[in-house]
Symmetry: C2
Subunit: 165 residues, 2 copies
DNA sequence: TATAATTGTTAGACATGTCTAACAATTATA
DNA sequence: TATAATTGTTAGACATGTCTAACAATTATA
């Protein structure tokens, strides 16, 4: 209800292509169809086909057999996907203590489906955890204790509960 | 690497159908094509078509114009989806303080793509938060403070950081 | 610089999952 | 219990995105 998307929504696939092109193009590097296909895990004709579609939407510039480049709008979308990707990876890796590889895999999937509200909150959550790891009564540390021992740390016992207001 | 799926992976769509049938069938209630179509937000022929596919995989029993019922295997898969759905909803609602509706929407999407490792950790995380909300230095409360004021609570300041070991 | 290797494209098949239109079965009600 | 309303199915179109096979362009190298 509150979400009024101004720009055309992209599918998960198209977001993946934009993201890959942005990542491969970092620092003015030339981007090749082959690289994109390897990064995404599809065959080259799939890339050509996607580039055609993205060109029609003016998100990518693509000369036949030639250069591949994001338009400003394509770049904006790609950056947004990458931003989500990074926040999600950090959440899974830092906050939940998941190995980098799995964290990346999950981020790759979730980045395409999560709402902007949840994304925003999750980002703040990670910032909070990272900025305040010990002050917040060593949150990740306690969480790890719980993961390892399967029971709550001592200072979570009920006698401590009524310290609120 | 560690994940060796014994049962055939289902697509997000098929998982949605199984989930809807399980939810609608709670307490022996008769399940209708119409209801499924409304719950998922597709037209009836899409449901008929999905039921055919699921019947072939023996996840659903479906008599033409007649009853719709999950097989034990179909039910197992549906329960699993529902379990993920609920944990995700609780995470977004309880831990991140997101409204129930958005929490549900996000859970509906993410339940189909998250890894079992992340799911397990996230579940434990929610259990931890819910079991230990005040003892853990009022974690959700501090997080809300951060959300509202945009800065860390006082006791996150650097002078408190070296209290680790 | 010919030729071989590599990279990229085109054409068209295929899988998934949706839809509309037309019809069939079932259920409700006059 | 005929008839109308509702629910469900079938047939087939369509959109998305993948693939293989064949060919074309580019680049590397003999």
């Amino acid at each position: 209800m509150s979400k009024q998307e101004a720009t055309r929504e992209q599918t998960a696939s198209m977001e993946d292509y934009l993201e890959a092109i942005a990542n491969l193009g970092e620092g003015k590097k030339v981007v090749r169809v082959k690289q994109i296909s390897e990064m995404i895990g599809v065959k080259m004709p799939s890339v050509t086909s996607a580039l055609k579609k993205l060109s029609e939407q003016e998100l990518v510039e693509h000369a036949r057999y030639g250069h591949i480049k994001l338009t400003p709008e394509g770049d904006r979308i790609a950056r947004d996907v990458i931003r989500r990707h990074e926040a999600l990876t950090r959440f899974f890796a830092q906050a939940l203590g998941i190995d980098k590889e799995t964290a990346e895999e999950d981020a790759c999937k979730i980045e395409h489906v999560i709402s902007s509200l949840s994304m925003e909150r999750l980002t703040k959550f990670v910032e909070f955890i990272e900025a305040c790891p010990l002050g917040s009564a060593n949150f990740p540390g306690r969480y790890e204790y719980y993961l390892e021992h399967g029971e709550l740390p001592l200072d979570c016992s009920s006698r401590n509960v009524r310290k609120k207001k």
